[in-house]
């Protein structure tokens, strides 16, 4: 069953076509990768899915429900969360506060203006679980701005995960992470719960082929090939436009 679908999704900026007629189905529980050369429109698709951009045409369905017109926060509440290619963190908050914030919002406590943050036991329990899962316990009280880059990338995913999404969109989660911190990050991504559907955008082909069970290739804003990793790896057209370029490099 498809948990997230796009039907004829398109986005034009003036004369530039950033996404053209993208029809995509992400299956429940999938590990779906969206790849493509630079400028293919991958981040545009994520921005359309999450409501940062409004599509020029087309529809987006989450659990069969049309969410095309919904606000960003409403999509989060319906179970779709994302990470950002370039860190978008709360630099003045500690990881503890940032995660507690996301958890409190999900539990509907965001309008609670009378009790202290964390006075509900459920919040502390969940924050603890997330802090452990994302290996942030040792830095949880440091200002986010002072965290090593690898930890910031982990927090980037932790914040999205704290929204308890059923669909998690990861926008180049490993981009720019130094080799020494890379293993922890990749292991954490691999260990995401199986019931969370993941849509991964990534340039790193090792990560894509070790992680994904389905791959969609985007070229010039249009869906080019959609299939299993084996299909995609074998497809001569993909090799020509994308993998070839990667392999030659």
């Amino acid at each position: 069953m498809a948990i997230l679908e796009t039907i004829g999704l398109a986005k034009r900026f003036g004369g530039i076509v950033a996404a053209a007629d993208v029809t995509l189905a992400i299956q429940q529980g999938a590990r779906h990768a969206l790849i493509g050369p630079n400028g293919a429109g991958k981040t545009t698709v994520i921005n359309l899915l999450t409501g940062v951009l409004r599509p020029t045409a087309g529809r987006i369905l989450l659990h069969g429900r049309d969410i095309t017109a919904l606000d960003r926060y409403q999509r989060v509440r319906l179970g779709m969360a994302r990470t950002f290619q370039i860190n978008a963190l709360f630099l003045d908050l500690t990881p503890l506060e940032a995660i507690a914030l996301a958890v409190s919002e999900r539990l509907g406590l965001g309008t609670d203006w009378w009790r202290l943050v964390g006075s509900k036991g459920a919040v502390a329990d969940e924050v603890a679980e997330i802090v452990e899962r994302f290996h942030l316990a040792d830095v949880m009280e440091a200002r986010t701005a002072t965290l090593p880059y690898g930890k910031q990338r982990l927090l980037e995913i932790a914040l999205a995960f704290a929204c308890r999404p059923r669909v998690l969109l990861l926008d180049e989660p490993a981009a720019g992470v130094p080799e020494a911190e890379r293993h922890e990050l990749l292991a954490t991504i691999a260990a995401l719960p199986a019931d969370v559907t993941v849509l991964l955008i990534e340039h790193d082909m090792d990560l894509v082929f070790s992680f994904a069970d389905r791959i969609s290739v985007l070229v010039n804003g249009a869906l080019f090939v959609d299939g299993t990793p084996e299909d995609v790896a074998r497809d001569p057209r993909v090799k020509a436009v994308y993998l070839g370029e990667e392999l030659d490099a």
């Binding site: 969360a81 978008a88 709360f90 965001g110 203006w113 929204c163």
Partner: protein, 349 residues
């Protein structure tokens, strides 16, 4: 509950604990009722300015909304409090005060939609524009407001029907200080709550706030309305304690002075407005006795000096002060479990 979860619960709540320095601050503030009776008139003005600055800190220091129009709420509520007292519509000051605050809050709610969009500069202009319009409306409808002569003939009934206002400002100061304290308590609860945390998040990164499920615009409308309420309470207090209200309650200077107070005191930790108001008022008083005519020269010099010293260095001082505050607080926290569980082994790891 795992030990980590229990620990995290404690750490999250710790920020909202009262520190020794805070308690000392309020003890000193209330002690001034008995210790400085001859200063009650200026202290009344200080308490009102502090509450007014607190209202701006809520939107500027926590939600990141810069405003040059806080006087709109101050003045509107000020005139409302004056008119209901003059015409005997609401005879009890506390009730009139709350109603004035609500009127300001209603105005804040309506105008909040104007500040949702746009950059800091847009917000400065929009908020300034709203207060300018209200100022001219008050000027134009002088049959109601008294225009340039001010609202005359306001008589304020005794507080709660018992405590009469006196010419030395004793009742007025006690009344203002209690109102300031109550408003501060509410603001303090608010900023350490999940709601307050979401405001800090929006100030830091509005894009990400939406991406973790925060309805950004609704939160900004809410805090702008609350801020207008507090500003309105401050304006009504001024009218009630002076039994007078004039056009300058809506002036640009009043809003600009407020920013100055927050620049002196610092934003985003609630005490900035209070400390800033004390420094500003007493410095104004002191300089005015030295050079009655030209006191604004020195205020201007101070402003330039503060800005040149730089926000960063100011922030570093505040950070140091806050750290000292935190250490004192932490010490008092450590005592309590130590007293309760003397000898018990410290948990787990």
């Amino acid at each position: 509950m795992t030990p980590l979860a229990a620990d995290i619960g404690q750490k999250l709540k710790r920020r909202g604990r009262w520190s020794a320095l805070e308690i000392a601050f309020w003890i000193v503030a209330f002690a001034s009722i008995w210790l400085l009776p001859q200063k009650h008139l200026i202290l009344t003005e200080t308490a009102i300015l502090a509450l007014f600055a607190l209202s701006l800190d809520l939107i500027l220091g926590y939600a990141g909304i810069i405003s040059l129009g806080q006087a709109a709420f101050f003045g509107t509520a000020g005139y409302f409090a004056g008119l209901v007292a003059k015409h005997g519509i609401i005879d009890e000051p506390v009730l009139a005060l709350i109603c004035s605050g609500l009127v300001a809050a209603a105005l804040g709610f309506i105008t909040s939609f104007l500040v949702l969009r746009g950059s800091d500069l847009t917000r400065l202009m929009v908020t300034l524009g709203v207060s300018l319009m209200l100022g001219e409306l008050a000027n134009r409808y002088s049959d109601i407001t008294g225009g340039a002569d001010g609202l005359q003939g306001v008589t304020v009934a005794p507080v709660l029907g018992r405590f009469e206002f006196d010419m030395f400002g004793h009742t007025g100061y006690t009344y203002c200080l209690i109102v300031l304290f109550v408003c501060f308590l509410i603001a303090r609860r608010l900023v350490y709550s999940p709601f307050g945390l979401s405001l800090r998040a929006i100030k830091g990164n509005a894009l990400r706030s939406g991406a973790v499920g925060i309805p950004v615009n609704a939160r900004l409308v809410a805090i702008y309305t609350v801020s207008a309420f507090f500003a309105g309470i401050a304006g009504a207090l001024l009218t009630q304690t002076t039994a007078f209200c004039s056009l300058d309650v809506l002036s640009l200077e009043r809003s600009a002075d407020l920013l100055l107070v927050l620049i002196i005191g610092g934003t985003g930790y609630l005490y900035g407005g209070l400390i800033g108001a004390v420094i500003y008022k007493f410095m104004q008083d002191w300089i005015a006795t030295l050079t009655p005519q030209y006191w604004q020269f020195w205020i201007g010099l101070l402003l330039v000096a503060i800005v040149l010293v730089g926000r960063d260095r100011m922030a570093a001082w505040h950070q140091a002060a806050r750290a000292a505050l935190g250490r004192l607080g932490a010490r008092t926290i450590k005592w309590r479990p130590a007293l309760g569980a003397a000898g018990a082994a410290p948990g787990g790891r």
